[in-house]
């Protein structure tokens, strides 16, 4: 597939078919989700042997289990006999997984250990060692976040994240002790293509002033200023590397958003000096920032939402949104983060309910023949990219679409390349000749 047909980096124009075409969707399940590092779980969810969570890698259900030696393994959640899910819970602790269809039993290491009536039914001709659960071949972690990948030839997670890990540290490594997941995730379905939300979290601070006007207006209560709380006068930097991207307010002091609860704000302010010493002023003050790790993991610094946009066909996405907090924070601050996130984000959140209204309505417009023939404009700030010592990646104003162009460039490279070697070669060529 000639990628330039769907995304043209020279013009900054994207073809609407990438959001609705069934054939493109099938190809991206294979070429993007079948080959990229995908977020599976947080280390804190599976603290000891036998603890498991179920997760998704695009449309594939998987189960992620802490092993007896402390490592993490992941398997396709599918019995090798007739394809039934071997684990039908969201999380828990188990000694193994027994299929509820015919009773095949697997160990937490994925090995097939028991088959009902094995001797009489198979006459000793079933080689159980060949019929273990399908293992996710690559699993690696970055500061608590566990990722898996189906492609053996994928670069290491560290290489894949590239310089974006530096920005992730402002979310994952603020204080000693790292982070943990608090409570259960919000899960809901949005009738829109997965790239609409993933790209917005990657690159779009621009929408906030219009989309979220009503929410910030009522949340800022008496001191609402469209320039300050209303995002219109926002100053900051956007960054892009390897398809990952984000934006942050650039400040020398903390910049809380209006929806942060007082107890959460207190923790952010109280820890500011130690975070500044640990990570420097830029990342310590980054209380407000949007980010996407390519392809479908997004997070908001300060709001502390961490979410995956699971594709569910070309026109639907299933969101799993967790709350991630500093492990060392007091209980009152953790509850403050939870309340702030619940009231602003998630399906009932005052901000996010307006986002999903946009995405679903965009998707509705792609049913029409002219809607599908159209193309969208991603030209904002094109040519204004710059680099700066101390801030990794390609940079631009926070009100630009550099990270979106980077996101679609990576997508296009994956869609058109046969191997990871080719994807990386394309990236290196591009990085050497900046546009």
């Amino acid at each position: 597939m000639p990628a330039a047909e769907y995304f043209d980096a020279d013009t900054g124009v994207v073809d609407a078919r990438i959001y609705c075409d069934e054939a493109i969707y099938r190809r991206e399940l294979d070429r993007v989700f079948g080959r990229c590092w995908l977020y599976l779980a947080h280390e804190s969810q599976i603290p000891s042997p036998g603890h498991f969570v179920t997760a998704c890698m695009a449309e594939d259900p998987v189960v992620v289990v802490r092993q007896r030696d402390g490592t993490v393994a992941g398997f396709l959640n599918q019995c090798r006999h007739r394809g039934m899910r071997v684990c039908r819970l969201d999380y828990g602790r188990a000694n193994g997984f027994v299929c509820s269809y015919h009773g095949w039993g697997y160990g937490i290491d994925g090995q097939l250990v028991s088959v009902p009536q094995e001797r009489s039914a198979y006459q000793g001709r079933l080689d159980k060692s060949h019929w273990g659960l399908i293992r996710i071949p690559r699993i690696e972690s970055y500061k608590g976040l566990i990722f898996g990948c189906w492609a053996e030839d994928v670069p290491s997670l560290a290489e894949y994240l590239g310089s974006f890990a530096w920005y992730m540290d402002g979310f994952l490594d603020r204080v000693e002790g790292g982070t943990e997941i608090l409570g259960d995730p919000h899960k809901w379905t949005i009738r829109c293509n997965w790239k609409l939300p993933a790209e917005q979290f990657c690159s779009d601070m621009y929408h906030a002033a219009t989309t979220h006007q009503s929410a910030v207006q009522v949340m800022a209560a008496d001191n609402y200023d469209s320039q300050v709380q209303g995002f219109r006068g926002i100053q900051g930097v956007q960054f892009s590397d390897r398809g990952h991207g984000g934006g942050a307010v650039e400040a020398s002091a903390p910049t809380p958003n209006v929806w942060y609860e007082p107890a959460a704000q207190r923790w952010l302010y109280d820890t500011f000096p130690q975070v500044e010493k640990r990570l420097g002023t830029m990342r310590a003050s980054r209380f407000a920032g949007h980010n996407t790790v390519f392809p479908n993991l997004s997070f908001l610094v300060g709001t502390q939402t961490l979410r995956v946009w699971h594709p569910r066909g070309p026109d639907a996405v299933e969101v799993w949104a967790w709350l991630l907090v500093d492990r060392a924070a007091p209980q009152s601050a953790k509850e403050g983060f939870r309340l702030g996130a619940v009231r602003a984000f998630g399906p009932a959140g005052l901000l996010e309910q307006d986002d999903t209204e946009n995405w679903t309505t965009v998707q509705c417009g792609l049913k029409g023949v002219m809607g599908r023939r159209s193309s969208f404009n991603l030209t904002m700030g094109k040519g204004n990219e710059f680099r700066r010592e101390g801030l990794p990646g390609a940079l631009n104003s926070i009100v630009s679409e550099t990270a979106a162009r980077g996101f679609y460039q990576r997508w296009a490279d994956l869609m058109s390349s046969e191997s990871w070697g080719e994807v990386e070669r394309l990236r290196c060529e591009r990085d050497e000749t900046p546009r």
């Binding site: 995730p185 899960k187 006007q213 009503s214 009522v218 709350l323 939870r338 309910q353």
Partner: protein, 174 residues
């Protein structure tokens, strides 16, 4: 008046209160709806997850370890203030709703306080998209007051039952 008759009248009055509330929400008369809430109201909507035995629930069961909504009076007033703004895009133009309240069960829970369980079915129609039916199990506490309709909502827990909410947002009130 017999105890049984008194109980019947209370049951009926509380059911009428829930029906009045549903009518106000269907009419988008949110200010009138707010006036039905006790100042100490706690409005929550727990998440639903499936977990194995051991950790949190006895036996395989449903766990509620987070909420989709966790509101006090001030937060609900803020929600309603937003709905009054023309830039509250998720509800402008408004979603049309029709609420069916049934299976109302009342039990006394202290002086002038009653625990009220009910089933709610909401038909929700947004823009020109498909209409949706949403079911919820509600567990409320109401307080008897002397004025107007005679009741205030003091506590509400809304259970949507889905482990994955099947729609793009929860911009309506349950």
């Amino acid at each position: 008046m017999s105890v049984a008759l008194e109980q019947l009248l209370v049951d009926r009055a509380i059911e009428r209160f829930l029906i009045l509330e549903a009518e106000l929400l269907d009419r988008q008369d949110f200010l009138a709806w707010l006036s039905l809430l006790d100042d100490e109201v706690a409005y929550t909507m727990p998440t639903e997850a499936l977990s194995a035995s051991g950790d949190k629930a006895p036996g395989d069961g449903i766990v509620h370890a987070n909420t989709y909504m966790d509101e006090n009076k001030a937060a609900l007033e803020r929600r309603v203030r937003r709905l009054g703004l023309p830039t509250a895009w998720s509800e402008h133009p408004p979603t049309r709703t029709c609420r069916f309240v049934s299976n109302v069960r009342v039990a006394p829970e202290g002086v002038g306080l009653f625990r009220v369980a009910s089933s709610l079915l909401v038909y929700r129609s947004r823009l020109d998209h498909d209409g949706r039916l949403i079911a919820a199990a509600r567990l409320d506490q109401v307080r008897r007051v002397e004025s107007d309709c005679g009741w205030r909502l003091r506590r509400r827990e809304v259970r949507l039952l889905d482990t994955v909410i099947g729609m793009h947002n929860l911009s309506i009130i349950f």
